[in-house]
């Protein structure tokens, strides 16, 4: 006999009634669940006990020590969730999964297209169990099409979306953006759509299936460049930090502080007035118009670089912002941790942690004036809440859990 369900402690906030079963991994999918947990949703993160989430084995690591419980990246995208391990290759684990599907409102997953189908756990099957299910399937290239089964990280997504090609110097191979770029825009599109789906279900009772190709999210951010070519314009190439409408525009060397090897400032001149202000500071011709500045880009960049390299990046930033020119020092992560603006927004949130004493996660990327986010607990350790979830949510007995473990469903 099963025990009566007593469920998990409820969250606070606008999503307090929402239950998410989060089978996604690494960054794009888990980031969506993190955002929902911040606003009160009950999120159960399901991990494979054998295939370690890559987010656990890339840094940054606490105290710079690698290890599956050390990653601040994993911590950042999974804070506030409950964590269980299920080996879905085992039939008994799939039974547990089906029962959790009936418990939840939303399933979020990012298996390679076709994997859930083989296990009879894809949307058409789960919909039979729960017709009003909301489900997000998020992969690099989507659930359909000839390349649907391409495996990969957002680094592969960067290749397939064009952003890898479009980041670099004109005279060199592509440098590419930092990390798995398609993981960054994707959760914004997915979160917005899932919250819209909850609203839709609330009004209509209808279930919703969302097929996300993460690369297509990045294509939205590259749309102007792609549309240009597709509508008879030129093929856009990578162009360093040059901009067709802004000059000067670039990253300039500054005088390093504190034994650092380098220091830089970003600077963007958008108007003739801004140019006059900058020209006065560096001793250049203030009368140049945009076309002239674009034409003399190289010598002007040199002149700015000579001026900036005598100064601290923070001094250049302050001096230019004081006269209305867009500039900012290139932040290291140390700089970011001391940045007064990020501090003003309480961007770095400290949480007690069983292993590390304390961990740090980022705050949500928006501030809601009347619905403050609450990061209720750090990300789960591997399988930390197996027993809690199996007993409280599914009402399993100790004997049933022992049988599951013996079948290899949990480890």
């Amino acid at each position: 006999m099963s025990l009566p369900q007593i469920n998990l402690p409820r969250g606070n906030g606008p999503l307090a009634d929402v239950k998410l079963l989060d089978l996604s991994w690494i960054v794009a999918g888990p980031t969506v669940g993190r955002a929902m947990a911040d606003y009160g949703a009950t999120v159960i993160r399901v991990e494979s006990p054998t295939r370690v989430d890559t987010a656990r084995i890339v840094g940054p690591f606490h105290a710079d020590e690698p290890g599956v419980e050390q990653s601040a990246l994993y911590g950042n995208v999974n804070a506030g969730k409950w964590g269980i391990t299920l080996d879905l290759r085992v039939p008994e684990a799939r039974d547990i999964f089906r029962r959790l599907v009936q418990w939840c409102d939303i399933v979020s997953e990012s298996f390679t297209a076709g994997v859930l189908q083989r296990w009879q756990l894809d949307y058409p099957q789960l919909r039979k169990l729960k017709p009003d299910l909301i489900m997000l399937s998020s992969t690099l290239l989507g659930q359909t099409g000839p390349y649907r089964s391409v495996s990969g990280f957002g680094s592969q997504g960067a290749g397939m979306s064009g952003v890898q090609y479009l980041t670099g110097w004109a005279d060199r191979p592509p440098a590419g953006p930092f990390g798995p770029y398609t993981d960054y825009p994707a959760p914004r599109f997915a979160l917005t759509a899932l919250l819209a789906a909850l609203d839709h279900r609330r009004r209509t009772g209808e279930g919703v299936f969302i097929d996300q190709a993460q690369a297509e999210g990045t294509l939205q951010l590259l749309a102007p460049a792609l549309m240009d070519y597709m509508n008879g314009g030129p093929e856009i190439e990578r162009r360093g930090n040059d901009d067709p409408q802004l000059a000067p525009h670039g990253v300039y060397p500054c005088s390093p502080t504190d034994g650092r090897s380098e220091s830089w400032v970003a600077l963007a001149v958008a108007t003739d007035q801004q140019w006059r202000e900058l020209a006065q500071l560096i001793g250049a011709d203030p009368s140049l118009n945009l076309d002239q500045r674009l034409e003399r880009r190289a010598p002007l960049d040199d002149a700015i670089g000579q001026w900036s390299s005598q100064r601290l990046a923070s001094e250049v930033e302050t001096a230019l912002q004081a006269v209305g020119v867009s500039a900012h020092a290139l932040s290291t992560t140390e700089d970011a941790s001391h940045d007064p603006q990020l501090a003003h927004r309480v961007h770095f949130r400290r949480l007690p942690h069983a292993l590390h004493g304390e961990t740090v996660v980022e705050a949500p990327r928006y501030i809601l004036s009347e619905s403050p986010a609450e990061v209720s607990r750090p990300a789960p350790m591997y399988g930390e809440h197996n027993e809690l979830v199996l007993t409280r949510v599914l009402g399993l007995t100790d004997n049933e859990i022992t049988a599951l473990a013996a079948a290899g469903a949990l480890s």
Binding site: P60, A72, G152, P173, Y229, M230, A266, S331, A363
Partner: protein, 412 residues
């Protein structure tokens, strides 16, 4: 999905994607521009045959309706407030302080429009020591920290050649707007959503923004890959006609992909069958304990580089699909435009503009089933300047002769 909701979108080029995301989900989005047109209409690139028409603006106003309104004038402000009577969301991306100066900030507007969800997108946020800083794609990317991590290690750090920072912020604005909608279901009240593009940009650091805070080393930039403890690791490889992104590593997370690569190398005769005896999932631990050949994995990497270099991007993509490798081509703009995958997913859409031109656009970012049926998206041309003035002001009860007067006074 969002068809019951109306969005009044005052954003310029800095936030214009947010409203489009809501439009793609079915919301009625009204782009409000000054009578002379949004500054976003001046952002490059431009249609080749129409040097005055911004592709940037077209790309992010598709699916919206459009009106003009001089919100700097008292008449225009009144019109906007009437429009807000029936609105659920307002999105704005003005310089911080401008909306307050116009008496259109959240504090003021909520008095008569308590239902309204008011979303502000700015470079650094609505308050704080840098709130009045002048923002730009590059400065935001610098302040949010991805800029220093990007680029070749022997040159200055780099941004993406198509500006990205405001797009990330707009994406967060759409998510924040929807969270506030769920809060309104509980409380009956709207609220203010304050989006900082600096914070949005920090998403593009892969959590490295936390490195110093947790005691980890600073990340270092390395073109085409990453640098770990001073050692550059290439994540790309050369092919005959360009480059591929390839991830190859032993270990429990992705070691099985290295096994797949070994199988490919053996089957094409580039490697000895004994390579198949190794399991790269467990290899790293055994190599560290002296129970596996420490040179084996580096040899696998070199073999991969050698064989990949003899093939084209397309050939390697096909190999990658057949053998399940973590390898894809670095597509350029033409490759993306001609992608068979995007074609099969009907990603590109042609829209006929009112002047008869057929213009190719990206479709919505997601494919959605409602009750198992494909969601019909609103696919219409971006509004011309003031295209829906008569229609929308008509809905507010503004009469035709009043419209004429407002036009002659320069309010619309």
């Amino acid at each position: 999905m969002l068809s019951p909701y109306r969005v009044v979108d005052l954003s310029d080029e800095r936030g214009v994607l947010a409203g489009q995301m809501l439009a793609d989900l079915g919301a009625d989005v009204i782009q409000v521009e000054p009578p002379g047109g949004s500054s976003g209409r001046g952002v490059a690139p431009f249609f080749a045959d129409r040097p005055d028409q911004s592709i940037y603006w077209a790309a992010y106003t598709r699916g919206k309706r459009g009106i003009t309104c001089d919100i700097e004038s008292p008449h225009g402000r009144d019109l906007l407030l009437r429009l807000l009577d029936r609105a659920d969301f307002l999105i704005e991306s003005s310089d911080v302080g401008r909306m307050a100066r116009l008496g259109l900030d959240h504090e003021t507007v909520r008095e008569h429009h308590p239902q309204l969800i008011y979303i502000s997108i700015s470079a650094f946020g609505q308050s704080g020591p840098k709130a009045h800083y002048v923002g730009s794609d590059l400065a935001i990317w610098a302040a949010g920290a991805p800029l220093l991590m990007t680029g070749d290690d022997d040159r200055a750090p780099l941004r993406v050649s198509q500006p990205q920072a405001w797009g990330h912020a707009a994406g967060d604005a759409a998510g924040g707007a929807m969270l506030a909608l769920h809060a309104r279901h509980q409380s009956g009240r709207g609220q203010h959503v304050d989006v900082s593009a600096q914070v949005s940009a920090a998403q593009a650091t892969l959590g490295q923004i936390l490195a110093f805070s947790v005691g980890a080393v600073e990340p270092e930039r390395f073109g085409g890959g990453i640098k770990l403890r001073g050692v550059g690791i290439r994540g790309t490889a050369d092919v005959l006609d360009g480059h591929v992104v390839v991830t190859l590593a032993p270990g429990p997370a992705i070691g099985h992909f290295a096994n797949h690569a070994a199988r490919w190398l053996v089957e094409i005769g580039a490697a000895d069958r004994r390579l198949l005896d190794e399991d790269f999932v467990t290899y790293a631990d055994r190599a560290a304990a002296g129970r596996a050949d420490p040179d084996l994995f580096p040899r696998l990497q070199q073999l991969m580089r050698d064989e990949v270099a003899k093939r084209t991007k397309q050939e390697m993509l096909e190999v990658s699909i057949e053998y399940d490798l973590l390898l894809v081509p670095v597509l350029d703009v033409v490759d993306v435009a001609e992608s068979r995958q995007l074609e099969a997913r009907s990603f590109w859409r042609e829209i006929e503009h009112s002047d008869g031109r057929r213009v190719t656009y990206p479709g919505p970012p997601l494919q959605i089933l409602l009750d198992n049926q494909p969601m019909v998206d609103q696919h219409r041309q971006p509004p011309t300047l003031g295209q829906h003035n008569a229609e929308i002001y008509g809905e507010l009860g503004v009469k035709a002769d009043d419209l004429m007067r407002l036009r002659s006074e320069g309010v619309i």
